[in-house]
Structures are given as structure tokens and as C-alpha cells.
Amino acid sequence: MRSKLWKLVLGAAAAAALSTGATAEEPKYGGVLNLVVASEAPSFDGHIETTFGTIHPIAPFYSLLVRVNPDNPGDPTDIQCDLCETFETSADGLTWTFKIKSGVTFHDGTPLTSADILATYNKIINPPEGIRSARKDFYLMVDSVTAPDDSTVVFQLKYPSGAFLPALADPFNFIYSKKDLDEHGYEWHQKNVNGTGPFIFVSADPGASVEGKKNPNYHHKGKPYLDGFKAIIATDMSARVQAIEGGRADIEFRGFPPKQRDELVAALGDKITVQESDWNCVLIVTPNHDRAPMNDVRVRRALSLAIDRWGGSQYLSNIAIVKTVGGIVFPNHPLAATEEELVQIAGYGKDLEANRAEARRLLKEAGHENVKIIFNNRGVDQPYKVVGTWLVDQWKQVGIEAEQQVNPSPVFYDILRKTREFDVSIDFNCQSLVNPIADVSFFLPGGGSQFSGVQDPEITRIYDELSKAGTAEQQRSLMRQLEKRILDETASQFITLWWYKINPHRSYVKGWKIPPSHYLAQQLDHIWLDKDS
């Protein structure tokens, strides 16, 4: 056991060393990247889809207006131009002006102008009646979008917002050509592709694969390095792992559980490079505030107090894609709580026995000792079922008997969002760009994705203040207040452990840096292959 563990640590360290060494090398041209994806794209239109199943095979065909720096995807503030040359904001933060690159053409030869960007954002922000747009609500701050000339796009905001630029950089905001939208309508892009991205669409076989070839006229000069890529659908996890092991695929971009990483490293040694990162996704325990016993704050607090987060971080990270203990903010972000701040929150204290004693006391006081609750969970292995089984065991330690119902996804959502026949349910928050002030709006009472039924004006008040806060210190202190209010005082919902992204890939895949989200930085223009060395 122990020696195996060491081997793994060394392997990971060697891998980390390798990947940092890679940046210094001169990129090589050529080769085709084979990647495996767990699910098929429901459609090719990023504007209406929300799944990585669309991003992984389709994002390489498109450009965005602005994007997260693919060479530094871990830094949420490093947003740079993709189709724009420069961008600037007025002093009041209300006017954003983008200068568009000249000489860019779509794959069908049509030159790109500001009109295309305008048409795209009109589709996203103000879709015509009957046309869907999945992230329309991200742009509530936008007053108008205009294109004063062929190379300028101006966004006029209703109020200044730190969430605006990250929202523009959302990886689903593929830029379409106005000509296509005018000629073929708003649904054409669901089945057809015409972008300005590093790769040109070749073919898509239903249920099997999507293929792209190099775009010789790509607007980032000298890129892409690859001759092409192929995204192969493999729904079964062991099939994906074995494909990488047997050389049928080079990389999987979503993430593997820790044991699969260990297996690949054990089987392939230095032919496998492992990149790991905290993941901007978290499972959130959602009590149903509308019915007993969860309408009692003492019971909710007891539920959170029973969870051994620090211990779980150790032993659960052996078997699940979760690891880091954190509050409501993505760990390692400047706005996230430090360990000293975290341990002040109920359920985060390091003295597990004291926490659980307190939980039992609260339950007794509330008259709910040995309470039985119904726990709605989603029938997805990683990490839902693993975390669910862990939670049930944690709650058992303080006398709560939770009956876990692992439901197929449609049933799970039906119960969470419609019938609400649960005492506690898993819910999750999973965002592409790390943008804590926007991300924590998830917890707001009455929000679109808030299904706990929490009623607390104080949470809304603190959040309003937070979103208007000017300085980083103010933001930080308000964020702490909000965190304390949500996780401790009202225990309206609480955090389990933050996800942990593990990407083992063939070592000859170079130039790819692990982002904190499986949606981000997937255009593949910066990836190259080094199969000879």
C-alpha cells in the first residue's frame, strides 16, 4: 500500500516537472489529436447547449470575442482578445468598446466584420421569440450592443459589473456569421458548422465522432499546430481509460477518478503525464426548507456539523473526483476563505467530535433525535453516488438516518425541481469561468436555480452590497459575511467538498494546460504533439 502510494506521488511529481519543462520547448507542427468524450453533442449550437459534450468536439471550430488565455487558464482574470484586436472600457465602466481584427475569414470564405459579432450577440442576448438562448440571463447588465463601423463593437451597460467581461468570455459564445443567420435562420447552427476557429469541420458521425482539419487561415498566426483532431465518443468510463492506455486516444478533457490515474501511471509510466487542478464545480447539500424537519435551522446545522470535511478530503479523494475543503467561493481564488476563516464556520472546525456532539445536542433540542430523512441523489457515479454514500454515513454518526435514493437524471431533476418530495437533495454549481461574485448568486433566495426554498432577506441584502462593492477588501469582507450567513447562521445550503480535476494524458500531448473547468480553453489551437522524442 505505502510503496504504491509513493510511486504515485513520484509519478505525479515527475509529470508536473515534465509539463513545466514542455513550455520551454519549441512547438512542433503536424499530427492528429484523438480525444475521447463521454457524451455526444446534443446539437452544435453552443448558444443553446450547456454540456461539455458540445464544447469538446465543437469549440475548436469557432472563435470567441474574448477568451481565457489558454496558456494560463488557471487565472480567471487573464482574459484576452480572441477575435478583437483591443478592448477598452470607459471610466464609468458603462461603455465597452471592442476593435475587431481585420482579415479574418469564416471557413466558407466570408470575411468577418463587426456585423457578425453584433448578430451573434443579438442572438445570445435578445433572441427572437421562440429561439432559445441558454445563458441569456448572464447579460442582464447589457443595455445595447451596436456596431458603429465595420471594425468596432460597443456594448452599453445599464450598470457597471465585474461579471460582464467573464460573461463575454464564456466558451459557449461561438461567433457566427451574420450571413448564415440571415440566410439559414437561427437553427441552422444546430446541425451545421461555419466558424473562424483553428479547425475546419470535416464530418460528424452520429454517436461516433466529430472530425476537424487544420484551418490554414487561422487568425492567430502560426497556429494551430495540429493537422487535425478527432473527438471520439466513448460513453463507458473504462472504455475511455482503456482507449488511452491502448493508444487509441491521446487525452480526455473532462477528468478521470484518482484510481484510473493510478492505473494509467502504473501501466504506462512516463508515457503518461498527469495534470491536476481544483475544479470550479461543487456538490451542494440542499435541504428542503418547505417541510419539517428541514424547516428547522437547528436540524440543518446539525446536518452540516456531522460532516467530516477535513477527513473526507483525505480518504474521499482516493476514490472520488472531490478533494478540497472550501466555502462558497472557488478555493485558491483571492475571494475564498482562508483555512483560519473556514474553521470558524459550523461544520468546518477541526475537532470532529466536538462538531458531532454539538450536532447531537441541536437535534435533541429540536426534538429530532434519530430523525429519518429522504435524500435525493443523482445516478451518476462520479462524484454524486460516491459523495452521497459518504454523506449518508456521516449523518448516521449523529443519529440521522438518511434514506438515499439514487435516481436516474430525469427523475432526480423532477424531484428536485418539480415535485420537491425530498428532505435533502444534492444540487450542484458548476461554472466555466471562475467568477465568484456571479457564481455565488446560486445561493440567493428566489433565484432561478435555487431549489431549497430558502427565505432570507439578509442573504439578498448582503449580496446586493457585495455586487456593488468597489474595492477588493470590501468584496472580501462582504463575501465572508455572506458565507457565514449561508453556511452557518441560516445553514440554508451547505458545501461538501470541491471537485478535483485529474487529467492523465499521453505525454506527447504538449502545450495543453489544465483549466479549472472542463468547459474552458478547449479550442485546441495551442496543443501540439511530440511523438518522436
Binding site: 471520439i232 460513453t235 504506462l268
Partner: protein
Amino acid sequence: MWQYIIKRLFLMIPTVIGAAVIIFILPRLMPGDICELRYAESSNYSLEQVNLCRQTLGLNDPVLVQFGEFLWGIVTFNFGDSMWTGRPIIHEIGLRFELSLQVAIMATIVSVAIAIPLGTLSAVYQNTWIDYIVRGVSIAGIAMPSFWLGILIILALLTVSEAMTGTRWSPPIEYVPIWEDPLYNLSMLIWPALATGYRYSAVSTRMTRSSLLEVLREDYVRTARAKGLMEKLIINRHALKNALLPVITIIGMEFAFLMGGLVVTEQVFNLNGLGRLLVQAVTQKDYTMTQAIVMIIVLVFVFCNIVVDILYAWLDPRIRYS
């Protein structure tokens, strides 16, 4: 004879309608909704978008209208578009049907290649150690869960290939039609065909054995024996030929099942076949797709059934008049 065939064809109509009713109702009794699911991955859930999606897909139409459209689709063999991908169902099914058909044919060949020689051996040497070994080996095939057998096969390939060549080899994970690249195609499909063929050979081995035992007791075989013909000749010339009819029936029925029933094997070997599509369609609540695949499977089954029945009626005139 024609009268019998026409009668059989007419009897298939209630079966098809009955199956259509069940597959229309059953998925609609399952809780949940394709539009909820489509927007489930994101935490930015918007009721407005879900309703819009329901409207676009026709889920808000009256149930009877939906059923009418479905029935008309069966009659005209036009099943419409998949609710999940929006692409025409015929287009979605095309490639997968091809793959499933090839695996079913290959698995059937493997199954026959195992069952007939082993069943014959087992019958000829009834109650000797040869019989015991054959039966033991054949039953062992169905004793393992299919996903377990599949995973073990892939693991064995990875390990053995490394021991022999130094690099790890696993079967391709992407289907290429056999006429484009036969070697690549076979190197992918041979493994699931072997696994499935071996599993399904158990029943036909058993059938070969018992019907051969029966035939070997018939008078004409005894006569042949009495005439002093060689045992091998008797079995090849006389007995086996007559014993094979029920075996062929079993194989026909299994073939119908293999077309859509290899759900688990397809997952493990990453085959983009009908079974995997069916499970996906059911779990994603893609009604149109589920209905279409189930009806295709039912039609294949009913068709195989009729062929077998007619074959029997042709060989055994008593059935026709009962």
C-alpha cells in the same frame, strides 16, 4: 400454403399495434422530461427556456395527437426527428443498424461454429467425460455477466499485447465499415462477436445435443447402423442434417435478439450500436427515438418469427391445418 402465410401476416398486426401502444405509454409514465435534462448540466436553470424547448418539441401537444403522429410514422416508415439531437431518426439509426447487423451476424457465426461441433461431440459421446467437458465449457459461457467478460477480454488484450510486442494494444474504439478497411473493422468487432457468440452458443449447443440424441434413436439411423455404415458417416450424412432444424430456429430467434439486445456489450467495447442508442434514448427521455428503435426491433422480431413459422409449416404440413 399461401393462405397460411397471409393468416400469419394478419396476426402480426395486433402484435405491432400492441407493442406500439406499450412503447408510447411506458416512457411517458417515467418521471422527468427531456427539456429539463437538456438544461440540467448547467446550474443556470431557466424555466422559460425549458418551456420553450417543450413547445418546440411538441411535448405540449395533446397526447392523442402525439400518438396519431407516431402511428402514422410507423405506417409511412418515417419516424421524424430525434428529440435529443434534432436529426432525422433514419439518419441516426443508419450507421448503428449497420454495426449492430454486422455484430449480430458475426456473433451468430461464432455461435454456430461453437455449437454444432460441440453439440455433436456431446451427443455422440453422451455421458462420457467428453460430454461433461463440453457441457461444462458451454455453460461457463453464460455464467459470467457480459460486462465482466468484456472487461476481462480487453484487459487480457492489453496485457498479452504488451508481453508479446512491448506496446499495449487495445481494440479500436471507432467503427469503420468493413468494405472500407476490413482489417481495422474486424480487429474491433471480432472481440465482442467472440464474447457474445460464446455466451449464446450455450443454448444452441444444448439444442444440437438433444435433437441429435433424439434423431440417433430414430429407426433409419438404427437401420444405417445395422447396415454397418461407419459411425462418422451416419452422423454427418443422416443424423445431423435432420437434427439441425430446431437448432436453426433457436439461432433465428437469437439473431433477432442480438440486433438490439447487446446493450451492455456495446458499452464495454464502445460499439456505436442500436442497443446503446436505445438505452440512451430511454434514459434521456427521447420519446420519438425510443419509439422508433423499439418498433424496428419489434418488426425484426416479428419478421424472424414469421420466417421460422413458415419454414416449419412448409416442412411439417400438420401445422397448417391445426
